[in-house]
Amino acid sequence: MHHVVVERWSRGSSPLHTRDARSKLGALLVFLIAVSTTSPRAQFAIAGYAALLLAALFAARLPLVSVLTRAALVLPFSATFALITWWAGDPARAISLAEKSFLSGLAVLLTIATTPWNDLVHALGWMGVPRFLLLVIQFVYRYLFVISEQAQHMRLAAISREGTRRARNVRFRAATGAVGVLFARSWERAEGIHRAMLARGFTGHFLSLERPHFHAADIVFFFAAATAAVAVRMAL
């Protein structure tokens, strides 16, 4: 599954990977605000943002084509709206919709692909996201792929058993049963997880052995990235 790819990317050692997650997250927010407030007709600014992201992509030593392809996943959605907007007689805005959503998605992907998941969650907590929400996010992320894999297995098993050419109501009932069974298995899994956590001394929050530090380079990176984004926004 493709999530594994991003996790592998995030464990690199490029200059961008070694920056503190908080500085990257801060730079991402400034960049997204700059893109969001750019006028639809400012095509030079869009090119400027693209250049900034490409520079960061090279600095991160990530595979260019695979990253760009992944970021393009947003395009079917935005292209639909772009076509509608074009049809409504606003081609400038139509083009900018597609460009802005692609650049914003690429910026988020770049941040995720250079930041290990735990560091990102830690940075979000540092920014004040409620701890309970972060706990739930951690658990969803941890079991997302486990349970998705289980769903895939069940789907494969169902197709092997009865094929895809059965009557619609039979397949509908089969899908309903699959949801029920998946639910029951998830519930049991949650109970098992809880027992295992209690056995290991869980008290209501995760502990981390690493304490991330802000280095001078992180501060420099944040201000350099933020200044570059704002400069593109204002000058072009």
Partner: protein, 282 residues
């Protein structure tokens, strides 16, 4: 329908971030108080379950299939408060890890699907499930998806994404079909889960009169109708909100609005967080 970044205008996403962030902070606090530690893995695994259940295809029409969205089902399993938190977690993961929905637009997506969607999905169940159980569950799934989709459409229109009225009508019709499918799948899923263990579906808390329920659903439907039948009103509202016409030239204003909005969101979250923490320790 997850709104990506770049679609919403700064006034719209700033407002919705400002609404959603404190709401989620309060709900997280409340959900935490009402849960022992055994619920935390349960909520996480239920979130993962909703994610995975979206992969199971339900054949609905000739050549078409739908899948569960899950907000209403979740609210009937873990309760509306926890369901809103789990949906927020799912949306955050989709935005960060899968680039499905934007980061600036996260407030809007959380508002549409985790707050309004879960509320609209749970209300009919809470109010009517004693008298008309199946209908209430169906209505929950239906209203949950319809509310989310219409809110997203309204926000796009408010942001100045221009759509011909014909397209708005077509998409509203598509939303209604999607909502009917969600209602049917939610009902089928709840029945399947109950057959395995009736205790997994929570009993609706407390009874209120049907009148209140009708009024609540009426309000939701009115909001939906406003979004779908009044594109002119929305366009007028867009103009007064300065979507694209008045403030276009004053870019400094828009940058300041964006940055100021972010600062405001942060301050609001911190203040509310501090207040709640103090209240809890007092």
């Amino acid at each position: 329908m997850h709104i990506p970044d770049g679609f919403l205008s700064p006034p719209v996403w700033v407002t919705l971030d400002l609404v959603s962030a404190p709401a989620v902070a309060i709900l997280a606090r409340r959900a935490q108080q009402g849960t022992d530690t055994s619920r935390i893995p349960l909520l996480g695994v239920m979130g993962a379950f909703v994610f995975a259940a979206q992969m199971i295809n339900f054949p609905v029409g000739p050549g078409t299939s739908g899948h569960l969205v899950g907000g209403a089902l979740l609210s009937m399993v873990v309760g509306p408060t926890a369901a809103a938190i789990v949906m927020t977690a799912i949306l955050a993961i989709q935005a960060f890890v899968f680039q499905d929905g934007g980061i600036m637009a996260l407030g809007a997506n959380v508002f549409n699907m985790a707050l309004a969607g879960v509320l609209a999905g749970y209300l009919p169940y809470r109010l009517w499930s004693r008298q008309w159980r199946s209908a209430a569950i169906f209505a929950g799934g239906f209203l949950s998806v319809l509310t989310s989709a219409c809110l997203a459409l309204a926000q796009l229109l408010l942001s100045g994404v221009r759509m011909p009225p014909k397209i708005i009508w077509i998409s509203t019709a598509l939303f209604a079909i999607g909502a009917l499918i969600e209602g049917a799948i939610t009902l089928a899923a709840v029945r399947a889960i109950e057959r395995l263990n009736p205790a997994w579906i929570i009993a609706p808390a407390g009874g209120r009169s049907r009148v209140v329920g009708l009024a609540a659903v009426g309000a939701v439907v009115a909001a939906v109708l406003f979004a779908s039948t009044a594109p002119d009103a929305i366009e007028r509202l867009t103009r007064t909100m300065g979507g694209e016409t008045a403030t276009e030239s004053i870019w400094l204003y828009r940058v300041a609005a964006g940055l100021g909005g972010l600062v405001l969101i942060y301050v609001a979250c911190t203040v509310i967080g501090r207040y709640l923490a103090r209240q809890r320790s007092a």
